[in-house]
């Protein structure tokens, strides 16, 4: 059986053929997916735009200039100004930092909590499994957005200072996101455990630690990677929705969601599309790219692994 182009190393007189690592093979397959690569590049572009872009902007974020307010796009302001005279493009870039950071941070939290609980559930079963899964079920049966709204409302009652708001939002999003991940990881672990190669680890007398770290988790990571990627998209959308409703990131901190608030105002909606089209497009394109990338990852990871 031939392999894909192997790297040939010469060791003394023996020619050893080393297959590229599984991640390299995955990457190669991913490269063939044009849509996924375009999405990847677009996301990189958004990152650079959001985090490095503002350094190139001649405008300071919060400086208001009433004289310049509500100007349509021009050479000086590529995307125009808002009702405080602030440059929309700069705001868009700063908002990108916020939305992307929240999206990714929320994903990390969800993944860590979800995988840990899911793995414990799946590996040890019994009462622990039942408790964790029932909690997950309860959380999953409450619709996401209303739950977030309730949490947000509670938090505004507690009058959380603005600096901590962002962290609170991340925590809230991960609170809503972990159950799905936990179920997935648990399901993977359960099905993996039944596989003959896991029975083989028992026959070989390997320790529990070795079984979990070297056998179960590496086989769960590919799926987790795909789900995590898609989770980021979900988190960005949730944060945008919350911020749009005024319950997430609140002004003056910009986020794509709260920038869209302009669409709420009749005048702004009709007369000043440069206020809400950019953030809306940014959200849309970012989420779509993440989804395409996630799909591409799933296809790239699938073929050989399951054979």
């Amino acid at each position: 059986m031939e392999t894909h182009s192997p790297i040939v190393k010469k060791q003394k007189t023996m020619v050893v053929v080393k297959s590229p690592s599984l991640w390299k093979q995955t990457y190669r397959r991913l490269k063939k997916n044009k849509l996924a690569i375009i999405s990847l590049f677009f996301l990189l572009f958004m990152f650079l735009l959001s985090f490095i872009g503002p350094h190139f902007s001649p405008y300071i974020l919060d400086r208001t200039n009433v004289a310049d307010m509500n100007q349509p796009p021009s050479a000086a302001h590529w995307l125009g100004t808002d009702n405080y005279g602030r440059d929309v493009l700069t705001r868009l870039m700063m908002a990108g930092q916020i939305s992307l950071t929240i999206g990714i941070a929320a994903m990390f939290l969800s993944v860590i909590i979800g995988s840990l609980l899911g793995a414990i559930s799946g590996f040890y079963r019994g009462a622990v499994d039942m408790i964790i899964m029932r909690i997950a079920d309860i959380l999953m049966s409450i619709p996401g957005l209303p739950l977030l709204l309730i949490l947000a409302a509670i938090l505004s009652e507690w009058k959380v200072p603005a600096e901590y708001r962002l962290y609170i939002i991340m925590i809230m999003l991960s609170f809503v996101g972990w159950p799905g991940l936990a179920r997935l990881v648990r399901g993977q672990i359960l099905s993996l455990k039944e596989q003959p190669f896991m029975q083989a680890t028992e026959v070989l007398g390997l320790s529990d630690r070795r079984k979990i770290l070297h056998h179960l988790i590496p086989n769960t990571v590919p799926l987790l990677l795909v789900v995590a990627t898609l989770n980021v998209a979900g988190s960005i959308l949730s944060e945008s929705a919350l911020s749009f409703l005024g319950l997430g990131v609140v002004p003056p901190t910009p986020s794509w969601g709260n920038m869209m608030d302009a669409a709420n105002n009749f005048m702004d909606f009709r007369k000043r599309p440069w206020l809400w089209i950019p953030p809306g497009t940014a959200i849309f394109l970012t989420v779509v790219s993440i989804n395409l990338l996630g799909d591409g990852l799933r296809d790239a990871l699938d073929p050989k692994m399951r054979r």
Partner: protein, 322 residues
């Protein structure tokens, strides 16, 4: 010459609950293994033959304590397998190994061949991390694998080669006893022959003992020294190879032998076609479990289960009429 007894199985039973939950009725269990006894001596290749529902795979896994038993006793080298401490169990894992049926799913797809084979050696402290690669190459050579394969992934190999990797993984620990659960069933005939020869060679060179589980009588005849025929959880006949094939006693054995298709169109076929299907192990027939398909069945067979008795010369059979 009496060889040392390696494995002793006494009246082993393994039942699975068919209905879970609070109202578990014991009568509703799947009696996968229903009172099985046999011994395997050092250097012996013991064949366990049966069709679906016979319980042969369950026995293979239970004697290695991969499942808990329901009743009975299993002794390896004189020690009760089911009362071993954790440490003693680890030692058992080095002395006994298992080769699975499906070479595709018995290897971790994310582990390179060299790592899969060497892993357990390092875990059990049999070799240091520096020396493991060399030792792995030795084992690979013994199992007919090229050294070029060491850094490749399982999915890059064919079924026969993967099975060799599984065998190498088992051999790496230098076990004394290997359970083989249908190890060649998923392989092509030409590859099957290679693997069977490998088993013979390894057995001879290392003084191994095997429990060879299969449904294929022709393979079993080639490799095994002693053979047991199972039906629905019980051994119905047990004999040394030549005895069994030359003088089968139990009607099921005879039917099984006659059912194997012979690759010779001119051969005379005295086919004993059994009627009906293999009954479900949840509700096996009363008395002799084989009576629903047996051409010789009488009322007695339905009332009383036949005794498993010695018919002379190490030949055991469970039937009222032989």
């Amino acid at each position: 010459m009496m060889s040392e007894t390696l494995l002793e199985v006494h009246n082993l039973k393994k039942y699975y609950a068919a209905t879970k939950g609070m109202f578990k009725k014991f009568g509703d269990s799947v009696k996968a293994v229903d009172g099985v006894s046999f011994t395997i001596a050092k250097g012996e290749v013991f064949g366990l033959v049966g069709e679906s529902g016979s319980g042969k795979s369950t026995i293979g896994k239970t004697i290695l304590r991969l499942h808990e038993k329901t009743d009975g006793e299993v002794k390896f080298k004189g020690k009760d397998v089911f009362s071993l401490s954790k440490k003693e169990l680890r030692n058992l894992r080095v002395e006994t190994q298992l080769v699975f049926q499906d070479p595709f799913s018995s290897l971790n797809p994310r582990l390179r061949v060299g790592d899969a084979i060497g892993e357990a050696m390092v875990e059990h402290g049999l070799v240091s991390k520096q020396d493991v690669r060399e030792r792995v190459l030795e084992v690979m050579k013994k199992c007919g694998l090229s050294p070029f394969h060491i850094d490749r992934y399982p999915h890059e190999f064919s079924g026969g080669q993967r099975q060799r990797i599984v065998i190498a993984r088992a051999m790496a620990l230098n076990p004394e006893f290997i359970v083989m659960d249908e190890p060649v069933a998923a392989l092509d005939v030409s590859i099957q022959a290679q693997i069977i020869n490998l088993f013979s060679d390894l057995q001879r060179e290392n003084g191994l003992s095997y429990l060879f589980i299969s449904h294929d009588l022709s393979v079993v005849e080639h490799l095994c020294t002693k053979i047991a025929i199972m039906y629905l959880g019980n051994i119905v006949e047990l004999a040394p190879k030549d005895e069994l094939f030359d003088h089968p006693l139990h009607p099921y054995t005879k039917a099984l032998l006659s059912a194997v298709p012979i690759p010779d169109p001119t051969a005379k076929r005295e086919r004993i076609i059994l009627k009906g299907d293999i009954p479900s192990p949840i509700n096996p027939p009363s008395g002799c479990k084989f009576r629903t398909r047996c051409p010789m069945a009488t009322d007695l067979c339905g009332e009383k289960a036949p005794e498993y008795r010695d018919a002379g010369g190490g030949h055991f059979v469970a039937c009222h009429y032989v």
